[in-house]
Amino acid sequence: MNQKEQVRQFIESNLIVFEDEADLKDDDNIFQLGYVNSLFAMKLLNYIESEFNVKIETDEMDIKNFSSINNIIALLDRKLGVTE
């Protein structure tokens, strides 16, 4: 499973939606759509740090970096030094 699928699976397992086929797009803002509650922001942060073995620094502690699957992957790419 690649990073994007891992992150998607984690987010989907925490979605507060009751339609079985919620269609979460890679650029959907999960916080604005009300898919998750505020506690999820911390849970997501802890997940990213432990699952991908990275330390999110204070200056990266911007909700935008965690608001969509694509933004999370972009942050991980920057942290892990992946180049396009």
């Binding site: 507060i16 505020s38 506690l39 849970k43």
Partner: protein
Amino acid sequence: MSETVAQTISSAEEAAFQIDRVRQFVDKEIRPYTSEFDKEQLIPETLIKKLANNGYLAGNFPKVYGGLELGPLDYGRLTEEIGRVSPAVRSVLTVHCSLVGESLLRWGNTEQKEKFLPGMASGDTLAAFALSEPSVGSDARNVETSYTKADKGYLINGKKKWITMGARADLLLVIASCEDQVSAFLVDSNTEGIKRSQIMDLMAGRAAYTAEIEFDNVFVPENHLLGNEGGGFTYIVNTALDHGRYSIAWAGLAVAQEALHAMVKYARKRKQFGTGIYNHQLVQEMISNAVVNVEAARALCTKAATLREEQHEDATIQTTIAKQFASKIANSVANDALQVHGANGFSAEFIVEQLYREAKVFEVIEGSTQILQQVIARHGLTRFHK
């Protein structure tokens, strides 16, 4: 004996020793005076110094900052031992070590940690968490205390209320907003423009220096911003309240455990109708319920400790579950303990009077029972649908 087993036994002995020491400290320095603190509505400075000298004001801090570096379980047990006899003294740990200490440890930069944590460990700097306001409780995202940018810092204006330790603290972690951004600031409580007053004669926490705090153009230097601008609610408040809930879970267990002891002690001694009241089955029902509830709360707190130690993704929700349950049973056990005491239970001569009053606040602070029930329900709805 293998080295691993030897190490396990050694660390278990060490942990047991520490708890024994805490019990001795509590029995000598706190238990005889807890009604006095309540009556005088203060915690003596000498006790605060003794708490610091024993490392209890930094139980959860790393040793490098003067702490005991206790893991979540031992820190919980420390909280329980102190909370059994004095919810007010325990509240120092909740706000100073858990809410502010853990927020600094998680989000402070090196300079901030080195500046504040050693002083917090030594007791020279007592800290409080300033979130609630006259009009803002559960809806913490919408704090009305505001900040604006100033030359080399920020200016804070507004009013906080119900701030535990607020009238005594040297350092305030203040949550304020600027337009749609919420940020957190480390504020010296002696800064010009701060006016504090202790809220007296409360039903609970009389000795916990609960305060109303006004901020009138209070200047905060830019290096006292904790985390980054805009991260105040999502990250700082959530971090602080998660640790606060963990502390209150153990605080609820503490009151329930002490109430159970008081209930049993009294039931064994008190005679009515020519026999000890412990022989009456309806008294036994109350004791039975208390035993089961205390055991269940302890199991939930211990599970939360284990998941926190593992940094498990469910640590936060497990903590929420433990807090919700322990705070409720603290009330039911304290209520039954007072019932067993009859008229004597209303006298400050017996600790159940204080436990009964103090228990209720656990259902209000660090997330009310009703707010936490919604959080737990949502967890259930996302977790158990398949």
